[in-house]
């Protein structure tokens, strides 16, 4: 187990190195000069020169990259071109919001997804199955920016049950939870739908398996048949889907945070890309990649917990 964790961390370092290089180069190749954005339309040529010099953008790209890597080794991820704030600070102020949002959505997705998936597998071809399958398919088919706007219009503007946007109250307060509901649903729907589909097919496969027949031959009651004998086996592929889907979820935060005015990593990232704030882009992309890898490591560990056949050594 520890071997796995150590190996994954080594891989993570290499992966991040690769990503940082790719992102660094692509941002420098990309048209659009950070200095023109900072200077604005009015800046004169010499103003821009001064800004470029100030940001160190007048040096060769490879020197800049080496410098950047050197900084990282000392825990320095650079400073935002736009605000001059340290990248670590900029990320840390926004990170809790994204984590809140992603976790809440994942919980929504897992609970809704697994329950509907399993229920529709048990009642295969019934109207429950048909309607939850349709729900699942509709869930993955709705563009989530559209869903977000619709939810705001219905629940926040018309019914006024929930706030329109922002995440400002602490999570443990009722206000804090209320703020999270609409964004979590917006972001979680697609994942819920995916998990539901996966749970359904995994469950159907497990139900047809030999060991379930064995359990029936033992006289096990249908309820424990499903919730004890089948569930854990069916969860094995579902957990994988959850892990892989987490990347999509992180991507989804970009749009959800935009729509719900949540001050998170996704929005930081899109703003940084738009304003060519290279250090912030670098920092956020690395963070997101690291989270993705870590989540999948956790998934692998959960995997070993669910499935005794898997051992990591």
């Amino acid at each position: 187990m520890i071997g796995l964790i150590v190996r994954r961390f080594l891989q993570l370092v290499l992966l991040l190195l690769g990503i940082s290089f790719l992102v660094f180069m692509s941002m420098h190749i990309a048209p659009g000069d950070p200095a023109t954005i900072i200077g604005g339309p009015t800046a004169s040529a010499s103003d821009l020169e001064a800004i470029r010099n100030d940001l160190g953008l007048d040096r060769p790209v490879i020197v800049q990259y080496a410098d950047y890597l050197g900084g990282i080794l000392q825990g320095d991820f650079g400073y935002s071109f736009q605000t001059g704030q340290p990248v670590t600070d900029a990320i840390l102020t926004r990170f809790p919001n994204t984590i809140k949002l992603a976790t809440a959505s994942m919980i929504v997705a897992i609970i809704i997804g697994i329950v509907t998936g399993i229920v529709s597998a048990i009642k295969q071809n019934s109207w429950i199955d048909l309607s939850s399958t349709t729900f699942a398919l509709a869930g993955v088919s709705i563009p989530n920016f559209w869903l977000g706007t619709m939810l705001i219009l219905v629940f926040a503007v018309n019914l006024q049950w929930l706030p329109v946007g922002g995440l400002s109250a602490p999570i443990y307060t009722i206000e804090g939870m209320k703020e999270l509901i609409l964004p979590a649903i917006t972001l979680g729907t697609a994942s819920a739908a995916l998990i539901a589909r996966m749970s359904r097919s995994a469950m159907l496969e497990v139900i047809r398996s030999d060991y379930i027949r064995t359990a029936k031959a033992k006289g096990v009651k249908p309820r424990s048949l499903i919730w004890i004998h089948a569930l854990r086996n069916a969860m094995i592929p579902v957990v994988t889907v959850i892990g892989i889907n987490f990347g999509g979820l992180l991507g989804g935060t970009i749009i959800t945070e935009q729509v719900f005015a949540i001050n998170g990593i996704g929005r930081l990232m899109i703003d940084a890309i738009a304003s060519r704030d290279f250090p912030i882009v670098q920092g956020t992309v690395l963070l997101v990649a690291a989270i993705f890898v870590l989540v999948n490591l956790i998934v692998d560990l959960i995997y070993a917990f669910i499935d005794p056949r898997i051992t990591y050594n």
Partner: protein, 323 residues
């Protein structure tokens, strides 16, 4: 038979599968699939290789055919070492050695008409025109007991026995001298099994084929093979003519194996030789004689020393300290 040049000679063959682990994925241990196997196969004979699952008999067949890279040892075909040959020369040998596989359902490409599947051999090894190839394939189909019209069918349209016939057709297409049958009839119902074996024997007579017949079914091997090799955990246990092995088994494993076979004779007194426990896992290879963990005759020295391969009567070899 003894003095003639063998068609195939295998010397000290070893095949290990590495187990990788640790942070850098270094090879930590090996699964010993084949440990020091040497034997000769003579033109026109049928050599049976028997043993239980995990004894390395299938790996042996695949290694001889070059489907698996050998770890150590050499394979000589008509006296020439195959190892290290150029691709082109190797291709020539491949033409001369063919294989029939166990699973008639898995051994045919499900997306390919069987006519085209059979033509592959000619495309790879000959310059025949499309028309000639088709003609040959139709002949082959009839040869193995199918019909010419089957040319355009897909594998799923055939029964297991018919598919195995297609497998045989593919194996004989290029007039090879050696055919390795890897559990070729094990997946078939008994009635079909018998007919496929009959077909194999007829073809052997007609084309002077040499068979290496790998099977766990000792009954079939008895009726099919001239000589039989018994394998256990990748090693050779006993080798002899069919009669020597079946009528006068020497090695305790061979005896236990033969005694365990259910005979279709009701009321026969059961005198199964009980073997202790299960096959040790191949990664946890026993020291000394690999059979000592289950052997009823095992002594202390069996655990330490690998038994010698010795000839107990003409053409009858055995590896055991105790007999």
């Amino acid at each position: 038979m003894g003095n003639q040049q063998p068609l195939l000679e295998v010397k000290d063959l070893k095949k290990y599968f590495p187990i990788k682990s640790g942070i850098l994925q270094r090879t930590k241990a090996n699964v010993k699939a084949i440990e020091n196997v040497s034997l000769r196969v003579y033109e026109g004979e049928t050599l049976g290789i028997v043993g239980e699952s995990g004894c390395g008999k299938s790996t042996f067949g695949r290694t001889v055919l070059g489907l698996e890279k050998l770890t150590n040892g050499s394979i000589l075909f008509r006296g020439e070492n195959i190892e290290g040959l150029s691709d082109r020369k190797l291709k020539g040998y491949k033409k001369d050695m063919q294989m029939i596989f166990q699973d008639p359902f898995a051994s045919l490409n499900p997306r390919q008409r069987i006519g085209n599947a059979l033509e592959e051999a000619f495309i790879i090894h000959t310059d025949l025109s499309k028309k000639d190839r088709e003609k040959r394939v139709r002949e082959l189909l009839v040869e193995v007991g199918l019909e010419e019209e089957h040319y355009d069918r897909y594998p799923h349209e055939f029964s297991g026995g018919q598919r195995q016939r297609i497998g045989i057709a593919r194996a004989i297409a290029l007039n090879p001298s050696l055919i390795i049958c890897d559990e070729a009839v094990s997946a078939l119902d008994v009635s079909v099994q018998a007919r496929i074996i009959r077909l194999l024997i007829e073809l052997q007579k007609k084309y002077k084929l040499t068979y290496m017949f790998i099977s766990h079914d000792l009954g079939v091997v008895r009726h099919m093979c001239n000589r039989v090799l018994v394998m256990y955990l990748g090693t050779m246990v006993e080798l002899g003519s069919s009669d020597q092995i079946y009528k006068n088994p020497i090695h305790p494993y061979t005896r236990a194996l033969l005694s365990a076979i259910p005979r279709p004779v009701p009321g026969r007194k059961k005198n199964h030789i009980k073997l202790e426990g299960d096959l040790p896992s191949a990664s946890n290879y026993p020291s000394g004689c690999p059979f000592h963990t289950r052997c009823p005759l095992a002594q202390e020295h069996c655990k330490l020393k690998v038994p010698e391969w010795r000839e107990v009567e003409e053409g009858h070899f055995v590896a055991c300290h105790e007999v």
